[in-house]
């Protein structure tokens, strides 16, 4: 009898674990289904285009825990919100929710808000609503407050007047950024902040139907969209940080648009005639920063020689498999303020001549040395989000070795922090989005002014000061572009950095998608013109 009871207990225990697991799974999945219209499974995604309901699935690499339009970019990317101004395909600033803008003086700006635009909750967009949106933004986001430097806002009808805390001619460029999205604060007041940040209400062509934190957003079209009825009925915007899985999802046709594919996986996509890959010039620049406190690279000849030893063509072809362009300045050459001159080709003889001028000579082992000390440089490398970043130093290391320079590569997690705390380095790998707003002023001010957030080495180019001063006082776009180009020429002369490449963004685009092309800014992803065959 007791044996039977014990056996029964054991069975009950095992059964209990299994039942518990099953019930959790079933309960959990039932919970997940609430608010979701479909699962985005292979068959559903493929069939959706042929039915009356047009649907598209997009995968991006950056996961989001919130849709808060003032703290993340995703609300604008997913077509939920819009900004007062936007960037066109030439990366120039154009009107969007604001039909017009003008500078009253160096601190005051007047915007005319377009008439007849409705928020997704049905309320009308006017200057008062825009004012409330900005006030909410600068309260909820310290980054936005620091970027906009708004002192006061006045609203009257469709006229909005913004006064900044200091002279700020580049202010309109800030208003293209996704975190300046215009939202319905009235909707937030009635929904509550938590609910609103999971389903924000803007003026964009798509409304949120459900949001799973870190995983996906489901959207449906906003029929009263001001710029024409959106072509799609529904869309799913997913996130996945793994490039391999994103690529497999694209190849299996479970997604129509996939961002940031790995170059090495493109061969397998080429075989499928339904799948295309768009290689788009990005606004990012990979470059080397030279330590101004280093006894070796503080000599301009050494910096110039190293610049000549960077084989940009090999980096573009061998590491990036052609999906990058050689850089000749901090900004992409294709931008209106980019450097139009050619880039530095690898030139070992030229580099050796420069080093000879700097007092270096080769010893019996073929190593360059000066005063008996070999030319050995410490290069800080980091991984970041771009897999190619740690490979670039290796190409340069091998090219420098041929010339007799020893480069020791040290990998660190946070180069900015290492640089701020150490002086024992000579070169550091760096990578930034140098012109996310279609203007170079912001980067020039943060990378070449001591104390700037992109300048941990406290680099100072004295000759640059008057140009930057003039740039910071100039509002006219053409004049700003000219001044930026002058600044780049000055920077290339002083060579505090060696610009290496502008990596491309690789976007998978299924042939059934029409009416949309990826842009370098990665802002406008789900749009009202995006359609499927």
């Amino acid at each position: 009898m007791s044996l039977w009871i014990r056996s029964k207990r054991s069975t009950v225990f095992l059964g209990f674990i299994l039942m518990l697991c099953l019930s959790i799974v079933l309960f959990g999945c039932t919970q997940d289904k609430v608010g979701n219209t479909s699962s985005g499974s292979p068959s559903e995604t493929n069939n959706s285009s042929s039915s009356a309901s047009k649907h598209v699935t997009i995968i991006h690499s950056l996961p989001n825990d919130t849709l808060d339009p003032h703290n993340t970019w995703i609300a604008l990317r997913a077509g939920i919100t819009e900004t007062l101004l936007r960037l066109d395909e030439n990366m120039e600033i154009t009107p969007w929710l604001a039909s017009d803008w003008e500078a009253k003086d160096e601190r005051t700006w007047i915007f005319t808000i377009r008439e007849g635009i409705k928020f997704q909750d049905g309320s009308l967009l006017n200057a008062e609503a825009v004012k409330a949106s900005f006030e909410r933004g600068i309260t909820d986001s310290k980054a936005l407050d620091a970027a906009l430097k708004i002192d006061s806002i006045e609203a009257s009808g469709q006229k909005l007047q913004i006064t900044t805390r200091e002279p700020y001619p580049a202010f309109p460029t800030e208003l293209v950024h996704p975190t300046t999205s215009i939202i319905s604060v009235a909707a937030e007041d009635s929904m509550g902040k938590v609910a609103f940040n999971s389903a924000p209400v803007g003026t964009g062509p798509f409304m949120v139907t459900s949001f799973t934190s870190g995983s996906e957003i489901r959207l449906t079209r906003f029929d009263d969209y001001w710029d024409g009825k959106p072509k799609l009925n529904e869309a799913t915007f997913k996130f996945n940080a793994d490039a391999n899985v994103r690529t497999l999802a694209y190849q299996s046709k479970q997604a129509d648009i996939v961002f940031h594919l790995s170059p090495e996986m493109l061969v397998s996509i080429d075989a499928d005639s339904e799948l295309d890959v768009n290689s788009v010039t990005s606004l990012r620049t990979h470059y080397f920063t030279y330590n101004p406190a280093s006894s070796k690279v503080s000599d301009i000849h050494v910096r110039q020689a190293l610049d000549k030893l960077i084989d940009r063509d090999a980096i573009v072809q061998d590491i990036m498999l052609g999906h990058a362009s050689p850089a000749n300045g901090p900004f992409n050459a294709s931008l209106s303020f980019g450097n139009k001159e050619g880039y530095q080709k690898v030139d070992e003889a030229g580099a050796l001549q420069l080093l000879e001028n700097a007092g270096y000579s080769k010893d019996s082992d073929g190593k360059l040395q000066k005063d008996g000390k070999p030319l050995t440089l410490k290069l800080i490398a980091f991984t970041g989000v771009n897999p190619e970043l740690p490979l670039i130093p290796q190409v340069v290391q091998s090219e420098a070795a041929k010339a007799g320079i020893t480069i020791e590569i040290v990998s660190v997690e946070y180069p900015e922090v290492y640089i701020a705390d150490h002086t024992d380095w000579d070169i550091s790998t760096t990578s930034y989005l140098t012109s996310p707003r279609g203007d170079g002023g912001s980067f020039l001010n943060s990378a070449y002014v001591p104390g700037g957030s992109y300048n941990p080495a406290n680099i100072e180019v004295k000759e640059l000061k008057p140009i930057l001063k003039e740039l910071n006082e100039t509002g006219d776009t053409e004049k700003r572009n000219q001044l930026t180009q002058q600044a780049v020429t000055m920077i290339n002369k002083a060579m505090p950095h060696s610009y290496i490449i502008n990596p491309n963004i690789l976007v998978g685009l299924n042939n059934r998608v029409t009416g949309w092309k990826p842009g370098p800014e990665e802002f406008y992803i789900l749009t009202h013109t995006l359609d499927v065959k």
Binding site: L22, D32, S39, P42, D65
Partner: protein
């Protein structure tokens, strides 16, 4: 029993306090600046003045002990703070992610049981014969494959080639299958080996010989006596696996874009998002201690001698 639970609760509080101090100090000693994370959200120019203002607003310029004290005081008032990156309450962030983690844990445990129990039992029953060799080969392969590689192979086979299952995301039960198999298979080898050796050990005991002498069927001896005895060491490991699973599997969650706690804390660590990391560590601490309590309780169910000893007050 109640006394035991009470002492475990005291232990829980002590563990959480120690954990919070250790995490707080380690995070502060690690390189990285959360102020730059906050201000660079808009990828714009940030002046030293802006940085100092934010540091002051967040209290990051205060002495370490004061920062810790303020944080602990908020925690005692059940406020884990807000994310530095998106300003959301840490508790809300974790509760958003917890259901997905619990689902994945349950899925992985089911796969683990379905794989390891039959293979472990068969390996012991047919010791030295081909089922044993097959089971050991499986265990060897399972132990050698890293989870990210297995996950990719599964996606390649079942999502890309066969197009039966979704590649990623969450939603219905089909999304759970591949991540559960990935986690369950990677954990299974340890359990197969433990079960095999535990059952073999039990089968050599006198009570098994006595059972055989009484004419009890072999399968019954195996399932009711030997397996039960072999489960004791397995439960100890299971307690650790369970707390690990509940804390979230970073690799599997990232690979399948599974919105669980593991992928959340990975992003928080990269961004130096201190309040989220601190909140996560506290929650994980609760999981570990709770899993240990459950394992202790399971011993009482599985081994009558433990019940008897406790019953006699020994």
């Amino acid at each position: 029993m109640l006394l035991q639970l009470f002492s475990r609760m005291i232990q829980l509080i002590f563990v959480l306090l120690m954990l919070s101090i250790a995490t707080f100090l380690l995070m502060k000693m690690a390189p990285g600046d959360p102020v730059l994370t906050i201000l660079k959200a808009s990828e714009g120019a940030v002046s030293q003045l802006d940085q100092e203002q934010v540091r002051e607003q967040l209290g990051l310029n205060l002495p370490l002990i004061q920062q810790y004290g303020l944080w602990l005081w908020s925690v005692l008032q059940l406020d884990l703070g807000r994310s530095l990156v998106n300003n959301r309450a840490v508790w809300d962030l974790m509760m958003d992610r917890l259901p997905a983690t619990i689902n994945l844990t349950a899925g992985a445990v089911i796969v683990l049981l379905l794989v390891s129990v039959p293979l472990g039992v068969v390996a012991a029953k047919y010791k030295g014969k081909w089922p044993d060799h097959l089971s050991r080969l499986f265990a060897l392969i399972g132990a050698s494959i890293p989870s990210f590689w297995l996950g990719l192979l599964l996606v390649y086979a079942f999502a890309f080639k066969l197009n039966w299952l979704p590649t990623m995301g969450s939603g219905d039960i089909r999304h759970l299958i591949l991540p559960s198999i990935t986690l369950g298979f990677v954990m299974a080898p340890e359990y197969i080996r433990l079960l095999r050796s535990g059952i073999l050990d039990a089968l050599s005991q006198e009570y098994v010989r006595a059972a055989r002498a009484r004419g009890i069927a072999e399968w019954r001896i195996l399932a009711k006596h030997a397996l039960r005895a072999a489960l004791l060491p397995v439960m100890t490991i299971f307690g650790m696996s369970l707390s690990g699973l509940l804390a979230g599997s970073v690799v599997t969650e990232t690979l399948f874009a599974w919105p669980g706690l593991g992928s959340m804390v990975m992003e928080a660590i990269i961004q130096r998002n201190y309040p989220v990391i601190q909140g996560y560590v506290l929650l994980t601490g609760v999981f570990v201690v709770t899993a240990n309590i459950l394992v202790d309780l399971s011993y009482r169910l599985l081994d009558p001698r433990i019940r008897a000893k406790r019953g006699r007050g020994v």
